[in-house]
């Protein structure tokens, strides 16, 4: 029976293997060229094969040598932090720095347990105001500040 003795390494190996294979697939119709005149796919293909090989060795070793288990993922902070940051990028171009700052603060604050709603609201307004004053006013960065 094949048993995964080192889940962390096994996943890491599969990840590298998959990334390499995916890149090879994505470059299938690019020219390789020769060593003297390398085409666009020459070096990326070498690297991808390297990734496939490294990943395979890591995954194979994980079947033999025991190692750390996979930890549980903390999805709430993960999604809120990444989502909040993305929200800033989405809000910024149309609605300006103030509302974008409020948006990111509102979203990410819920990543921390036990933050009262009132505090979140105050914090987002304060940070929004500070961002506008510092980057818009003091430093004068060419950014949209307000929705109008």
């Amino acid at each position: 029976m094949v048993q995964i003795r080192s889940p962390q390494d096994f996943v890491a190996g599969l990840f590298f293997l998959g990334a390499g294979a995916f890149a090879l697939y994505g470059m299938a119709d690019l020219r390789m060229g020769t060593a003297m005149r390398m085409g666009p796919a020459y070096i990326p293909s070498l690297i991808s094969w390297g990734l496939v090989a490294t990943g395979a060795v890591i995954a194979a070793r994980a079947l033999v040598i025991s190692g750390p288990r996979l930890e549980r993922w903390a999805f709430t902070p993960l999604l809120l932090i990444c989502g909040g940051t993305a929200a800033f990028g989405l809000v910024m171009p149309q609605l300006g720095l103030f509302l974008a700052s409020v948006a990111i603060t509102l979203v990410v604050s819920f990543g921390s347990r036990g933050m009262p709603l009132r505090q979140v609201a105050i914090l987002s307004l304060v940070l929004g105001g500070a961002a506008v004053a510092l980057f818009g006013g003091l430093l004068g960065l060419p950014m949209r500040l307000w929705p109008w």
């Binding site: 390494d9 666009p40 990326p44 890591i58 990543g111 430093l139 004068g140 960065l141 950014m143």
Partner: protein, 501 residues
């Protein structure tokens, strides 16, 4: 006496009122953010990058350098007083520094950390000044093949110095190199791995990637661990700062050893100042008459690592300033900042912009002196900063990160990329892969491809020709030896012990 003339030129630049001010602001801001746990120097510099956009190139670089060593410095203050490493490089400072603080000797610990850092900074700055000129003339003899070989050695070294499995570090490097190759190929104009996405045609940018992988994922994992931070207040216990004669006697040799070790390790690509401080701690413990004192407030355990990480921080500027090759992620950011200012890093900087080159070097010394003078009295202020609860702090940090990334070129897709990189960084954390080799691979990847392609064109596709140049042969030979040494089990075990101790 070229060196003296050059240093004099540097001093005239660094000591001008305006640049002194930038140096001061940079080191203070760096300390401020370095004190906060969970924000490393990479995120700090990226966050504060927009502030330097409006400055002259010299002022901008001086300020960024100040932020970097200020951040190093701030990290040790929190490590000693509250047992929270502000930076990765001050993890070892926690061990004995905090133990000293518990015994009511926080003052001497802080003072020794400051004095050690300053001595190390002075020495390393001098090394940078002395070594740079000959290196630049050597670099002028470098062709594409030599550059390729040098970068190869850099990547191999980063595998050797990475913690954990070398195989995973190799995988991370390759993955980083692959990501750096995404986008339009400069030779043929062909789009590689863009899958028709327009935003990818120019390739990934370094700042959003670094910010996500280091900054965001760090914050996520801090939140995951909960906010049960040790709220032990030791700030009130900082009475006399003066170390005793016995302290000075014990720490002087440690400072010297740490400085030398850090100076050497800092130049190596991939060796962060963290490696320098770990190595110095291991060394001090090994040569101590009574190793059991370590972890219980041995002053050598503060003096050595603190000197080492500061020396390493200074000398890591050498490859960046002379060759245009970043030895770590912070230097990659500095290169990015130089490009934004319209300066192409490389050996020509010293010739074409001597005022900038020497000004930055002298300003490092000035900044170190400022840190000692200004920060010791300010320790109380820095510690009070830690009373701000993390739940109020991290949204502000994230906001600064987002603004920093967006302001690079007012491009919302960069912010989205940062968010995605945060996810990737968290994944790396969970599968036990260190992000540093990944970032180094990403930074060097496209430069390596470019140089290899040119080298092969020159040699008409003959790989053996690469080894025929003596510089190349030495660099590639050293890389091969290092790889061998990792595969041979006995040496590999020794390395593990060194890194994990």
């Amino acid at each position: 006496m070229d060196l003296l003339a050059n240093l004099a030129l540097g001093a005239s630049v660094a000591l001008s009122g305006e640049n002194l001010l930038y140096c001061l602001i940079g080191s203070l801001l760096g300390t401020l953010i370095g004190v906060l746990p969970g924000v490393g120097p990479v995120a700090t510099i990226a966050m504060l990058l927009p502030i330097t956009f409006t400055l002259q190139p010299i002022g901008a670089l001086i300020m960024l350098a100040g932020i970097y060593y200020g951040a190093q410095y701030g990290g040790s203050t929190t490590a000693i007083l509250v047992n929270l490493p502000g930076e990765a490089s001050s993890i070892v400072t926690c061990l004995d520094g905090h133990a000293m603080a518990r015994q009511g000797r926080a003052g001497p610990a802080l003072a020794i950390a400051a004095i050690g850092s300053f001595m190390a900074g002075c020495f390393a700055t001098l090394v940078v000044a002395v070594v740079s000129a000959p290196l630049v003339s050597l670099a002028r003899a470098f062709g594409p093949a030599e550059y390729f070989a040098l970068m190869t050695l850099g990547l191999v070294l980063s595998v050797v110095l990475a913690r954990g499995s070398p195989l995973k570090a190799i995988g991370m490097i390759l993955f980083g190199v692959l990501l750096s190759l995404i986008g339009t190929d400069v030779h043929t104009g062909a789009e590689r791995l863009t899958f028709g996405v327009k935003a990818l045609a120019g390739g990934f940018d370094f700042v959003p990637l670094a910010m996500g992988v280091f900054g965001l994922s760090e914050i996520i994992s801090n939140l995951e661990k909960g906010e049960g931070r040790p709220q032990e207040r030791l700030a009130d216990k900082v009475h006399g700062l003066m170390p005793t004669m016995a302290d000075l006697k014990a720490s002087t040799p440690a400072i010297i050893r740490g400085t030398l070790l850090g100076t050497v390790l800092g130049v190596l690509p991939g060796a962060s100042s963290m490696i320098a401080s770990f190595a110095s701690y291991t060394l001090e413990k090994k040569i101590a008459k009574d190793p059991s004192r370590f972890g219980r407030g041995a002053i050598e355990g503060v003096a050595g690592p603190e000197s080492a990480n500061n020396a390493g921080a200074q000398t890591s500027f050498i490859p960046m300033l002379t060759l245009g090759i970043p030895s770590n992620s912070v230097m990659a950011l500095m290169i990015g900042a130089m490009m934004i200012q319209g300066i192409v890093p490389g050996p020509q900087v010293m010739e074409k912009q001597p005022a900038l080159f020497w000004g930055v070097i002298v300003s490092m010394w000035v900044g170190n002196a400022m840190l000692v003078i200004i920060n010791l009295p300010l320790i109380g202020v820095w510690v009070r900063l830690l009373d701000v609860p993390y739940r109020l702090l991290f949204p502000a940090i994230l906001l600064l990160c987002a603004i920093g990334v967006y302001s690079l070129n007012n491009e919302p897709s960069q912010v989205l990329l940062t968010a995605a990189a945060g996810l990737l960084g968290y994944f790396f954390l969970k599968i036990g892969c260190e992000p540093a080799p990944f970032l180094l691979g990403f930074v060097l990847g496209d430069m390596m491809e470019e140089n290899l392609r040119r080298a092969m064109q020159i040699s008409r596709g003959d790989p053996v020709a690469m080894v025929s140049s003596p510089i190349c042969a030495v660099l590639l030979g050293a890389s091969a030896l290092l790889i061998l040494s990792m595969i041979l089990p006995r040496i590999a075990r020794g390395r593990e012990r060194l890194v994990e101790d």
